[in-house]
Subunit: 411 residues, 4 copies
Amino acid sequence: MDLGMTDRVRPLVEQVRAMIADDIEPLDHEFHALVGTHPSGDRFQHVPRQLEILDGLKAKARERGLWNFWLTDSEKGQGLTTVEYAYLAEEMGKVRLAAEVFNCSAPDTGNMEVFERYGTAAHKERWLKPLLAGEIRSAYVMTEPDVASSDAAQLAFEAREDGDAYVLNGEKWWISGAGDPRCKVYILLAETDPDADKHKRHSMFVLPADAEGIEILRPMQVFNHDDAPHGHMHLRFTEVRVPKEDLVLGRGRGFEVAQGRLGPGRIHHCMRAIGQAEKALEMMCKRGLAREAFGKPIAQLGANYDIIANARMEIEMARLLCLKAAWMMDTSSPKEAAPWISQIKVVAPLMAQKVLDEAMQLHGAQGISQDTDLAAMYTHNRTLRFADGPDAVHRRQVARAELRKHTNMRL
Amino acid sequence: MDLGMTDRVRPLVEQVRAMIADDIEPLDHEFHALVGTHPSGDRFQHVPRQLEILDGLKAKARERGLWNFWLTDSEKGQGLTTVEYAYLAEEMGKVRLAAEVFNCSAPDTGNMEVFERYGTAAHKERWLKPLLAGEIRSAYVMTEPDVASSDAAQLAFEAREDGDAYVLNGEKWWISGAGDPRCKVYILLAETDPDADKHKRHSMFVLPADAEGIEILRPMQVFNHDDAPHGHMHLRFTEVRVPKEDLVLGRGRGFEVAQGRLGPGRIHHCMRAIGQAEKALEMMCKRGLAREAFGKPIAQLGANYDIIANARMEIEMARLLCLKAAWMMDTSSPKEAAPWISQIKVVAPLMAQKVLDEAMQLHGAQGISQDTDLAAMYTHNRTLRFADGPDAVHRRQVARAELRKHTNMRL
Amino acid sequence: MDLGMTDRVRPLVEQVRAMIADDIEPLDHEFHALVGTHPSGDRFQHVPRQLEILDGLKAKARERGLWNFWLTDSEKGQGLTTVEYAYLAEEMGKVRLAAEVFNCSAPDTGNMEVFERYGTAAHKERWLKPLLAGEIRSAYVMTEPDVASSDAAQLAFEAREDGDAYVLNGEKWWISGAGDPRCKVYILLAETDPDADKHKRHSMFVLPADAEGIEILRPMQVFNHDDAPHGHMHLRFTEVRVPKEDLVLGRGRGFEVAQGRLGPGRIHHCMRAIGQAEKALEMMCKRGLAREAFGKPIAQLGANYDIIANARMEIEMARLLCLKAAWMMDTSSPKEAAPWISQIKVVAPLMAQKVLDEAMQLHGAQGISQDTDLAAMYTHNRTLRFADGPDAVHRRQVARAELRKHTNMRL
Amino acid sequence: MDLGMTDRVRPLVEQVRAMIADDIEPLDHEFHALVGTHPSGDRFQHVPRQLEILDGLKAKARERGLWNFWLTDSEKGQGLTTVEYAYLAEEMGKVRLAAEVFNCSAPDTGNMEVFERYGTAAHKERWLKPLLAGEIRSAYVMTEPDVASSDAAQLAFEAREDGDAYVLNGEKWWISGAGDPRCKVYILLAETDPDADKHKRHSMFVLPADAEGIEILRPMQVFNHDDAPHGHMHLRFTEVRVPKEDLVLGRGRGFEVAQGRLGPGRIHHCMRAIGQAEKALEMMCKRGLAREAFGKPIAQLGANYDIIANARMEIEMARLLCLKAAWMMDTSSPKEAAPWISQIKVVAPLMAQKVLDEAMQLHGAQGISQDTDLAAMYTHNRTLRFADGPDAVHRRQVARAELRKHTNMRL
């Protein structure tokens, strides 16, 4: 169980770290400061300088071969293991633009996996190719308003068969990335067979983001912020037609696709959350040494040694658990890996939330202001405790896996 | 030690509760949805409908005698005790506009106390009168950038004597309410005597918000939000002249004024925080009963019973501690009451933070969106752990008070 | 809601405190050091000096009128309220022998309440009188091995009707005080009507501790300690006959009696737990000031200020909640008071456990040794999280009470 | 960084596990039930059956080659790495007698390391040989009463030079294993040079346990229990002569020896603590499935799923951190490994304490009784938070290591 940085990945980590420090971080604040400055007043339009920043960085990354690391065990990517990728993703978690610059950002990575594994040749040509090239972006359209998404039986967005097509009707929300004008394609879960068994009712579809009948109702706000231009959109679909060939894998197999997609997505979020916590700890230490009160660096006041030590220990443990979950994904079946993914899915965001909160506190009011990235990291991280299953659902999975070691009882 | 609702305050609580439910809450969302819609693009300008809402509600409250409750033990107000006020302030914590509607909002209440206790006749006529009438608003200008504000010795904003005036130079930030065009007066702490004893260096000044030489540099953001039109402004003062008669209480007595001002302010924030936690628990219960998953109301799933029970217990305890601190303020000296205020200052915001976080989690992603008030309450409440002294400083005060029971040692 | 110390109880508190400090504490260690020194080798026999200590102290307390405080709202006792009693019970929690010395110790107080409320004239004469006089002790015999006692339906100890008597068969355990040779009477719950409704199946009986057919199987150990000579005994009953007149209140009304008995018992434990926490905090402070390391009193090292401050705040909050629950018992119906008792039943032992754990830690290894009372307090307090309903059951009660405010649904 | 079970250690783990289950566990309770049954009344004397049990098991283990695993990187032992040993030690943590049976128990392992690394040929022949053979036991004599042992400057037990010997005078306490009649040798730290630099004042000595002038004052109790026949003894030394050749490594080098000894000792305790937590979780699951209340297995009630899931996650994280610390010990310098050992020294006992507490709670009162091992594990584990440095000292080390990454300032 080698959880260390391999010789293969070490130089990549160093290059990624260097490019983040030298190239990306200096432009990150400029990019975000430009949000909302489009003359149209539309916060979801980029101004040219934003695209220049993004495209310039992406071109640089691609040239340097720092690209598509997430494609583990694949010929298309770098052939890294999930464990190796973890070290890279952690670095990318530290600066907001980084994951996209290396073409490793959600929800594209998950969507590309769907195309690669289950897509038709046409899908691969039309969507996967430009996604792999970082030319377009995508969205994953699953969550529905006013239902408990973790209970599949409640997802009732309708796909009605009609001739050679399915016709979609209903609302979806929290569709991340759907605000971005570069988002060109949706992968969407809809109910095709309401009377089938609970996990056979849904199917997965591919459709262009500009299909007729799709309306953006509003951006969902995360702690009062619209996360423009990425956005987490609330969408309405009215009689949107999707040709039958754009149903993925087969009718009634929507959950199969979703499950395959979610495992890696979940752990990637965790890897980046660990990077954020690591950065917060670094900021805490630097601030604790630089700022003085009552004649001492504040690191030496009150419980701050304990706070720093606890942060260090909690980060190390979460990182190791993340690496172990990654190793399980690399070496065992999805079924065996699942409770490990659930474990880290609970642990990492909670740990990062705690470390970020302490870091904010140690920074004083500046810690929640625009003068540091802590608040932005905090609110982003807070969404992870809902995304891809809330904590409660994952704890339940872990408990059931544990109890099943001792019983055959149905739990 | 009567901590209960008195016969005198009970009908007031009922009227306040009713007016919040019937009059204020229905307009609260409309008011906040209008933020940022001023044609000038200036988020710190009200549109007419906002002022209509505010003024209408304030007129109604004033007419009904639901006004200036905070003026405890005073002939000008209702003559309530701090314990009695606690029950009212808790209700006002539940809806964002409420405290202002009843003319009980920070920082005005603290500033009015300063004018009432220490102001000259001219101050009372020019500033206290319209503040008591709810016609203008005010700001308290103390915190400075890049220093540990809890260490008085570091506050170095300069007030230089010059003839019959003092001349102010320097920067201040997190000046809450200074974004509001209705904010007409500042109470400001500046260093007049840098060589004096640590607690004799500063003096308190009164000056009009539109004095020449004051520049708003930017709004400080709280979790990416500018809290417009109230705002927490970063200000620069350049050669701002304040006539000597507008120095409050006496040169070198700035900290004395500040201490007198801060006690009530701190506990008022706590009272409202308890109201927010109470509202969050109510929302948690309602959501837990209304939303189903896996065939059951989610209140009955997982650890939700425990989460609800813990929230109930933690709220009750914080409320009782708040009432006890209020009772100490009513019945003992400021010195004796101080550690109790420190206790509740640590306890209430942390408790509310926890309950709000659980409430958000139980609401799913909706809990952090604009569809509930939870995120707004959360970010507002999070500022309280810095405001008027960070947790660490208040814990230190509590510990020293405790240890002093057993030693004469200097701590 | 007056939660303060009344003028009536204040002098009692002072006398109790003084007597504990001057008379009881000095003998407490001597008493406990004598445990296990009986020549017979029987740890549940007192040596004469132990009885001399106990009887001497009890006589002194009785003479001074410091006796039977727990008999709230009663002509037999001091006529105190539960709130007033809370202040006395807290003091008694601080030293192990104290509650018995003032004739206020469990399980006698609860049993005396049963006799007073539900007992026959004969019961009162034979058992209540000597109990009130502190001449004998008693046990409450409810818990059964290998079942979840919180689920009444599982209590299956048999009481079979047989002529003019009931015949008891079965095992009971954790029967506190049954090890003490002075324990003369049992109040016992048994199943008389297994086919009746869940809460009508059981009846309550009174019987002498030396009734034929009762066998002490073993003392249950609490963290490896038998708590001799009090003891928590495991008993076997074989064909033990109880005359019908010793059935309390009426056949099938056992739970009614038990519920009436448990409310006060639960809160008395909490009051004493708060006293233990208060004592632990005092010990922590004194140790923190007296012991030095690295050139400073250890109170000033690391997070100790925060630990002390947190202990102070948590004790205050638990005390206030306890007083509020007591006030509910004094002023409202048992049904209304019940969720408040559940709240404090969860809060107080957990709080005391935490404070005691921190106090042990601050004492170093001495803190878990025989050189302080901390470990004994810790293990005793740990039993409270099971006794009279485990935390989980009480949290459930609190949650259901909360949810019932918003629904008529059966929970 | 291979943290997994190697092919070399896997069969050993399986054999150890099997021998614990088949041979040791069945006798463990018998052994402990015999404590205190020696006809002399001396709880620190074994009855013959106890020695028969111990010697029989040890012989069996030695024959099977399941012996001295702890001797990592050594020709005398199995040549295992610390990582490999961790898997074995975890198993040994689950049953009280196990570590001794495999000759891997504290304090012998640390003492053997001292003899092996620093001992003279005579020491090796006289003490190391029988220790390696499991024929005698030993004690490590460092901690002194009434001082903060973590502050070396306070250790003042005197070693006075006198001709060809040193003469020892003073008291030591918490000398684990010194109660066992088989304990034949002490390794003892004493102050030889009170005026030297803080870390050069002490020297390490070897002496027979039966040297003239050593008196056992009393066993220190751990939560009211004397841990007989092992014992944690309070000793008095009066003019005890130690020949100069039994000073280890060199005068003034006592701390050097102590530091070398403590690293492995600390982590071994952690490995076993993880084993205890793992066993507690297993017991929790089994009990949760077997015991029913309100018609359901209690595992499915209340927050029990969450409790089980949290236990699983916390155990996994602590185990991984322990393995990483072990790996650091195997692959880097003691200085680099030190903060990792401090990390796990804080994490593992706290985690085990929490899991054991939850396991006790889920077992009801039985969980703290003699009917399960939980209470014994709990109290043993609780000592680890003091032993070899309290949590606070290790957190401080971790924080300083962290801050040193960002400063050259003296911390």
